[in-house]
Symmetry: C2
Subunit: 394 residues, 2 copies
Amino acid sequence: MLIANAVLADGTQRHIDVKGGRIAALLPAAATVPAGVDVLDLGGALLLPPLVDGHIHLDKTLLGLPWVPNQSTGNRVADRIEAERKVRAERTAPEAETGSNLVRQVVASGTLHMRSHVDIDNQLGLRNLHEVLKIRERFRDLVSIQIVAFPQSGIVRSPGTAELLDAAISEGADLVGGLDPVGIDGDLDGHLTAVFGIAERRSVGVDIHLHDGGEAGIAQLLAIAERTTAAGLGGRVAVSHAFALGSVDTDKAARTADVLAKAGVAIMSHGPGGAPIPPLALLHRHGVKVFGGSDNIRDAWSPFGNGDMLERAMMIGYRANFRHDHELQFAFDMVTGAAASILGIEDYGIAVGAAADFVVVEAGSVAEAVATRPRRKLVIKSGKIVAKDGVPVV
Amino acid sequence: MLIANAVLADGTQRHIDVKGGRIAALLPAAATVPAGVDVLDLGGALLLPPLVDGHIHLDKTLLGLPWVPNQSTGNRVADRIEAERKVRAERTAPEAETGSNLVRQVVASGTLHMRSHVDIDNQLGLRNLHEVLKIRERFRDLVSIQIVAFPQSGIVRSPGTAELLDAAISEGADLVGGLDPVGIDGDLDGHLTAVFGIAERRSVGVDIHLHDGGEAGIAQLLAIAERTTAAGLGGRVAVSHAFALGSVDTDKAARTADVLAKAGVAIMSHGPGGAPIPPLALLHRHGVKVFGGSDNIRDAWSPFGNGDMLERAMMIGYRANFRHDHELQFAFDMVTGAAASILGIEDYGIAVGAAADFVVVEAGSVAEAVATRPRRKLVIKSGKIVAKDGVPVV
């Protein structure tokens, strides 16, 4: 199969020779199309690598159910945890069903790789993990789903959770998560000892939700960096949100960035609406890997979100005050190449030997695609069309 | 003509009897449909009043042209003003053409009323006003366009601009604008004397862009309130952006809100990405009218934006940390009823005697419509379908 007349992110026009679900060759667009080959002519449309969602909650979404109003009685993380318990008790469809609705929707928007956090606590046990494992199995030929065992109710304050996180890894979770060691668990050392203990013992990566702001948040980032180095886990640890980096002065943020970069701790941002956004360009300049994710999508936490990572790149760019093309390209990298690298996706990208996975849009450039978020004309997985004009191809 | 089975914002299902482009009656959905009447059956879809854009720049957009990268060399308002001069000099289509592209796009998304700022300075003269007057005339049966004579380059620092603003009013502009009296013009009294002098002499309203933050911004808000009262212009003055209200503590914001409310000064917010958002709920509680607008749409200032006011309500809600249904309804009001009231749109709303102007979407509630921004099934103006599934009906 030959994908003809594709414009790549660098502006060059190419024919892409696809064999066995992989990119066999990138030919000049002037090359003669050999006879007897299936040709998909893109007519100069923009061909991009697939989108990567570095932070999604497949078990939380209520997508496909009738509208569920937000129930939170306050604006603290703890209030939202409580509200979610109520919503969870009243949900009328299993997580595997609503999560599958979300996977179908995000695939149609071009996402083929994701990291999903999955709630684990001493009431839920591994129930949500089992639901998300069903989703992963169901869509295994379409998307890669990396699972983080996420202690949504804390670890120290929720006895038995550490053991459940450990069990989750043995049952198929890929990373161990954490949550505001101070703000929620009230025990920095206890929380991190549990998280990094599992990571070392099981040899898995770490991804910690950190909402705590200001100096308290910075102190936790530094502690996470120290633990990462001590455990030899550099390059396998991420902190999601890290609002603290956006709530301190530039000097403090820069010094913290240097520590994170040296330790190999990445930062995930979804371009938060009601919280400070970390200084993404500064972090990048100081060598910190930054990547993007959806976070909540129509769930007990947030009414917003749809899983479209091109829209997410726009939101990240909007919040980061990005306006120039190189800045929009940076936001795009956060939801493609940078996220793929942090998730350890092999064979990713538009290069010979890589998987023939693509998103095709009508746009003159990556910057324009981020700003305008055009309809996805085609989503291609292993050389096969899996969605067309925003609708999954069954 | 009868619009049957419309679900209104309050959840009730109605038939709407339309006569002479107006709502003649709101009938219970159980009412028998009379024979011989044209019926448009909405089948339970949500029928909303038309969207109102309280702040757009029809003369700035480059919509429809090939992508123009942002040229700004810095992040200050003054840097962006300079960058715009370059882009303006190089634009390959007149403002009337690109602005018309934008009007077509926003009508298809359900906006039927807007307030457009139009750049006026001593280089441009009234050129852009004349371009936007062409647009207003071209679309006069479709949308109402209120024009603000906007001194984008300042007044005091741009000699001759005050006279041009005055001339703009006599040539058809509806309000006089202003811009950062201190931050750009460096002369609070001089700037406001010019703006309010024109407003009083011509008996027109005022809409001032205020980006200046912190205490300096608050001082300018208080001065604008004082001038408003002195000129007897309460209810006819708005301040756009007012980032300062989001950059001071709650007490200071509340005290300023009381002054604005008493003077009758409204606040417009587009849900800024890279600047603090005013505390909208607090302003509302203190009696300040707040409304929404797009601001820049794919122009020399911003690569973002598309003029969809339902998406804008989402962005406002996202930035304001709104999550509950009543908060999403409030964001919706900012781009419908509240904006219509501030713009002085007569015969607006879903009520007997009002214009038969509607937007129809598939959503279970206003809150869901804001969060999910569904495709506009129908846009109806004076009882006639003017757009269908997001595409204008010629």
